[in-house]
Every structure is written in C-alpha cells, then in structure tokens.
Amino acid sequence: MGVIDFFLKYLAAPAGQYRAKALRRCLSIAVAAQALLPALLFGQVMQKPLKFEDVTAAAGIRAEMRCGSLEKKWIPEANGSGAAWLDYDNDGLMDLLIVNGSGMDDLRVSASGRIPTPTSQGVYLFHNLGNGHFEDVTKKAGLSNPYWGTGANAVDFNNDGYTDILITNIGVDLLYKNNGNGTFTEVGRAAGLSQKFAWHTGSAFGDVDGDGNLDLYIASYIDLDSFPLDEPAPVCSFQGKPAFCGPMGIKGGHGVFYHNNGNGTYTDQTKQVGVDKVRPSHSFTAVFNDFNHDGKIDLFVSNDSDPNFLFLNQGDGTLKNSAADLGVAYNNDGRAQSNMGVAIGDYDSDGKSSVVTTAFHQDYFPIFKPDKSGMYEDVSPMSGLATESMPYLGWACGFADFDNSTGTYLWTANGHVYPTSPQYNQPFVIFRQQTRYAPIYRYPEVPNNSYRGAALGDFDNDGRMDIVIVPIVGQPVLLQNRTLAENSWVGLQLRGTVSNRDAIGSAIRLKSCGKTQFSYITNGDGYMSHNDSRVHFGLGTCTKIDDVEITWPSGKIQLIHDVPINKYVKIEESGR
C-alpha cells in the first residue's frame, strides 16, 4: 500500500473537518512533489520498467546451437560460444554473427590433424534487412567453420573501411577478411595466424604500440597437447554427483599475442611482448582498455579458477602482468574465482571504468573499482551485487542504459555447467544499483535454458539497446528492447583516421544538463562476443547535449558541440 493509498483510506474514514482539511493539504503537496521529482533531479530519474520482447522467430533468426552432448561428459561441452554485432555492409544497420560449437567426435577428427567436413552450422551470419527482419547470408557471404566455435569478434583489422570477422575455435582460428561486396575470404594462414590446433576462447583487438593498427590477443583455456580426448571420459565429482573433470587438474593454456604489421598480416610476438611470462591458466575473456589511466591501452584477462591477469602497457612494446599489484587478480577475500565474462564501464560516473567479472554459482560477481591511487578494490560485497549474484553462474555480462535514464544497468547471461544441477537452467538477468544492486529483470521468468555468450546491440536503431543471447543448446534469443521510449539518447559512431579505424581505445566524455557521463570503446569484453561498437548514452529527459569530448587512441583530444540527440552520429577523428 503506497503512501497515497494510505491517505485516501484515512480521508475516507469518518473524521473531523479540521483533520481532513489538513490531510488534504498534505496529500496535494505529496502529489505535486512526486510530479516535480524528475525535473528536480535534472531529468535523470525517468526510470521505466524494462520491457523486452523475444523477436527471434519474427526476425528470422534461426540457429541451432550446439555444444557437445546433453550429458556434458567433457569440459569442452560446457562453455558455449558467442555472437557479434557488426555492420559488415556499411548500411548503417547492425548485422548479427553467431558462432556455433560442435561435438566430441568432430573434435577428435580435428585433433588428429584432419579437418572435419565444414557445415553451415559452424557459424551464422544474418544480414539486417532494416524492417525488423534478418536474412541468413552465411553461405552467400562465404562463411563456414569446420571447427568447434567459441568466440566471435568483428573489427576492421586492415583499416580498409570494412568490418572483418575473427572466429576463435577449439581448432584453428579463422580470420575472415571482408571483401567489401558482401562476401568474405578466410585469410588466417596468409595473415600469419597460427594454424596449430588449440583451445582458444576470447579475443581482443587493441593498438598496443600506438601505430594505428589493431594488434590482437587470443586467450587460451586448456593446453590441448596434454588433454586426452579418448573415451571413456574421466569422471569427477561435484557435490557428490558425477561430473566432467576440470578445469582444476587440467593444464591451462597460454594466450597468443599478434602484432599487426599494418599490411594485412600479423606476427606472433607472444614472447617479445611478454604475455607468456605467466603460468598456464584457464583464460576466457580478454579486454583491451586503459586500466591505469596513463593513456596507453592495457589488457585484462579473466581466468577460470586462476588469478586474473592485467597486463599493463609498459610503453616500450611490452605488457607486464600486474594484476596482483593492482588488486584485480583475486576477489575481496583474496581468492581466485571462476571468472568467465568481463564488463567494463564507468557505472558511477567518476571518470574511471570499473571491471565486473561473472563467477560460479554460490560465489559472487566481483566489482573491481579503481580508487584515487589507481589501485582496484573489489567493492561487490558493499554494493549488494555479491549477495544478489550468488544464485547465478554467470557468463556474458555488460553495462548498458536500457531505459536511457542515464543510469547504468548490469546485465548477465547465466547458466550452470552441470546438467545434474537443479540450477542448470538460469535466466538472463539485469541488475540495477540504487542504494544497492538488485535484479530488476529476468528472462525468461521460468528458466528453460543455460545461457553463455551474449552481445548488446541496437539492431533497429531506435536508441534502445537490444540484446542477443546465445544458449548452450537450442535457438538463440533476440530480445528487442520495448521499454517506453520517453527519454532522449545519442549514439556515437567513431571513426579513427590517425587512430585505428574502429577507434578502440577511445575515451568519451559527454556533458548534458549538468550531468557528465563517461564511456570507452573497448574490444573483447562480454564473453567471447562483440557488442555494437557504437557508443550509446541515455540522456534522460535532457534534450540538449552540452558537448562531447573524445580522447582518441592517438592521443588527440577532440571537443564537439551541437551534437544532435535521438540519432546515431558519425564522428571522424580530425587532423589527419
């Protein structure tokens, strides 16, 4: 019963004239205050109940997801795969790439050195037709994946104006160069990517040496050379029930760093850059971002059951793991967790991005927040997220302003790894922090699948962020954001000229109606997926943007005025 209801009932009761009059006066003040509240708070608190609609079938998205057997007797069958939003034909509409898994039999074929028969089900590319519908153009575009697909990424690696595709695999990674005519050509070998059979997971592009070209880091989960694939599957135990073995007790992998030579090729510089100076670990997600705010791009890697990595850019072409020193290797209890997905965002608008990682069921998702000294502290227990996240085993995650209220919501795709667990099916969840984090949206209400990858994107360009969620089995889910569209927004599409064309590594500050918001163009965050690379800001009821300041990876700072609202705006790096 709200306050107003209470007063109405009070007024309805027999009362003296004086009391009723006084109460009516109070009531009118209360009602007026409630109406004024949004305006009093600079138009920022126009939070709407979030509403999403599953439009997968209506949009024409059909992809039969696969990740080994339903019994999950082997660990490769547990981790799922990802998706990417990309505008591959430069028509201003976000197209959708979904990477698919495979089965143990095919994995054994590729482990033996043979290539399994490619199937159209190894990868899907859906072309956005602009009317809420998509067309499966996988074959037309020349895409296929014979391996067990894990990660999806999409950047213009050769700065030719067209977005290319990287598919990481348990197998050999595939780099698809965009031909500019709606088709792609696989150039991995020619571009210098390793052809060795390996278990790769997340990938991240970033310009480490500042030469304007996107270097590449690919994370590795397990050292396949020492991982036996022969039946029968070894059986371990989880809470007394039989379960697949790993990752503990299985040798972890080593990530690979490729330097972009600027001519469409890469060179393996893992040793030279120094990312091999860490223990083999079970790595999932890699993200390039400026984590110590020194203007140089660094690399964060989330690890499963091992301490996380934070390779700081030394400025001399090398990266040095300083995760323990900076406080992001372990959680607030000093424990290494099973960290899967990574979200990067300035959720409290202090100008510095925090890092959230997902974790195992009955463990909590940490929030690593930088303090003034640059050290990170896991503030999850204090924020309420620790308590609220414990029921979930999280994978993909990210920050977004789903109702354009200028607030920052945290979303996570969840699902357990063991089919025997009663928590195997879990929902996609959105958390909001007011005083403390609390879940405010779940899809579906009654969990019916176990989710892994997910990618945030505005496929209908209406300024409301949609999301595609990739389950371990069955059809992906495309959730169209149908939250009431009363708030303003803006989307910025940055194009580097001196900097890499995707502007990865840019920092954006937006001022509107006295509020300042910060965002960053990162790559690799989420979970083996790639979000819509346009930078989205909700503006609440504010109808004017004061200015936008962009710090490009090249170091150039650009201040832009008269930025229109409620549309996507292209901003090119000036001064080439």
């Binding site: 036996p228 029930k241 223990r279 091992d306 209890d333 000093g334 424990r335 009955q362 414990m390």
Partner: protein, 402 residues
Amino acid sequence: MSSYQGHRRNRIPGRGWIASIVIGMLLIFLETSPLAQTKTSSTDARVQQLYQQASNAKLQGDYASAISLYEEILKLQPKLAAAYNNLGALYVQKGEYAKATEVLTQGLKINPNMHSASALLGMALFNQNRYADARPRLEAAVRENNADVDLHMLLVDDLTKLGDFEAAAVQLQDVTRSHPDNSRMWYLLAKIYTRLGQQALSKMNSLDPNSIWVHVTSAELMEEMKNYEGAEVEYQKAIGMAPSEAGLHYKLGDMYWSLSRWDEARDQFRAELANNSRHCMAQWKLGNILKQKSQFDEALAEVDKSLAVCPDLPEARLDRGQILLKLRRADEALPYLQEGIKANPADPGLHFSLAQALRATGKTAEANAELKIYTALQDKAQADAAQHTEEVIKLREKAKQP
C-alpha cells in the same frame, strides 16, 4: 631362566622378525644352554655338533636339513626346551604350522616361560585359523614387545577375525600413537571404525529398524562415502521422526554447509537453534553463511551470539575479524585476524585480510609485508597445483607406453 631374556631385537617388517627370533634363540641356545655351562658328555658333544650343523644348514637356507638335525637333537635330549623353540621357529618359517604347533606346545610344557615360543605358537595357531587359541599368546607377545608393529598387526588381524573390532581398534590406536606416520595403520584403523560402525548399525537395526538412530547412522555413513543424496534422505527421515531432537538439524545443516548449499544449511541451522539456542557451532556456521552471502551486519550478529556461548571458538573469532573488516571496522578486526594467522599461518586468505586491515588503519609497511607473504603463499599453491597436474600428465603418458 627365560630363554628370551635379555634379547634385543629390531623391528623387522613381515616375517623377518621370526628370523631374528630364531637367530637370537640360536645365540641364546648357545649362551644359556646348559650345554654351555656343564662339562660335555658324549651326548652333549653330539648335541653341540648337531646344533652347529643345524645352524649352518639354516644359514644356508636348507630348512629341511636343519629340521632333521633338530629332530635328531630332540631324540638325544627330549627335554631340551630351547630345541623345541628353534624347531618350531623353523616349521613356522616353512609354513608347516601344524607341526610347529605340536613342537612348540611340547616345548612350552617343558618350559612355560619361553615367551618367544609362545609368540611363535600364537602365529602358528593364527595361520591355522585357530584365532581364539592364538589370541592369548599374541596378546602376551604384544605386552612383551609393545614396540613391535608387526606383532600388533598380527594381533589386530586375529582380533578382526574374531570379530572383536573394539579390541582391534585399541591395538591400532596404540600403534598409531607410537607410529603416527604409518599410513597403513591409519588405513586399517579407518577400516575397523567402519566395521564398528556397521556393527553398531546392525545392532540398532535389530533393536528397531525404524529408530531415528538407525537413520542418523545410515546418513552419517552415506555422507562419509559421499553419497549425499542418500544421506539427505536419511537425515530428513530422522528429523521427520524427531524434529525437536537436538543435533539432528545441525548434522543435516553441516552436510549442506560442506556442499556450499547455503540456503538449505541456513534453514537447518536455524531449526537447530530453535531446539538448542546454545549450539555455538550452529550459531557460528549461520553467521559464516551470512558472511558468504555478504550480509555482514546480520553475520556479525550471529557470530557474536556464537561467541557469547563459546567465547574461544577460533572459527567464530576469525570470522568476526573478517566481518568487521568488511564492515570497514578495520581497527576492531585487527586483533582477531592476527590471532587467526597465529593459528593458521599458511592460509593465504588470512594474510590478505590482515593486509587489508593494516592498510585501512594506515599501517602501510606492515600491510605490504603481509601482502608479500600472501603472494608467496598463493604462488606456492599455484606452483604445487601446476606440478601436480604435470605429474598426472606424465603418469598418463607413461601408462600409454607399451
């Protein structure tokens, strides 16, 4: 005079101790035999000669000849008790237990104080499955040679065969006290305890198959064997029959707690505390669950209730420190954390927590020192895990080789 007196013997695993008895006996035979002390008659001289030949035969492993020679000695000196002992030892070494029994029995009739003969007889009787007859002899032997692990083992075997698991457990407890690093003893003790448990369960079952204690014991046994589903069913049956019985909810809650099933554990601990508000372990664990769930204010309240009943409960004191730290009350947390580290210096998490508390109270140098210890412990743990993984890989590769 006891033919075994003054003899010192080292413990020799397996049947080696028999050989040492025999050798010792032979020496004593030489040293203490009346033959060594009296003028030798021609018979005595012949006995000495035969004895020497028997010793040589024994040393060469020719047991058959040694036996023949001792039999000849006994024909000449049928009252020579030591000869019966040595002959019996030879028969035991050869595995001819019936003959050993006959010979040793005869010898003990002549000289009942031959402790080694008694021990040998015990062994011979054991090996003929005459466990009840063997028992007093083996018990006497153990009393004489308490440090002999093999003798203890033999007696344990005998008691186990007789179904006297309690007595067997007593023997094993004795041995594990004096040989705490002998893992085989611990294994056997674990087996005996399991058998005792099963015995008790059978007894309970025969008294009342549906008593709550049958269900509780079944649950505990299943839990030991990691059959958590079965254990859960049995605990719940017991609780269903006696929901107010103190301790039952705690047992089930403890199992849930060990499995990180926090909500279910919490409910059980609360139920236990409703039956017994002074159960400080249940109270502490309730607080610990709330700490795991980051509900720190509530966790502190529960942990403080536990400490009100059991002020020295180390786990609760440590948790209090960690909770206070999470509540940004680092000053108050410090002494608890420092105390926890004294008890568990190898726990990296504690050093991490202490470092946080020291940093929060401005003791930066000490905080850094703690972080160094924490990092070193974490590095070691990771290195150990990596090494273990490598060893498993090597073993697996080795197993594949033809």
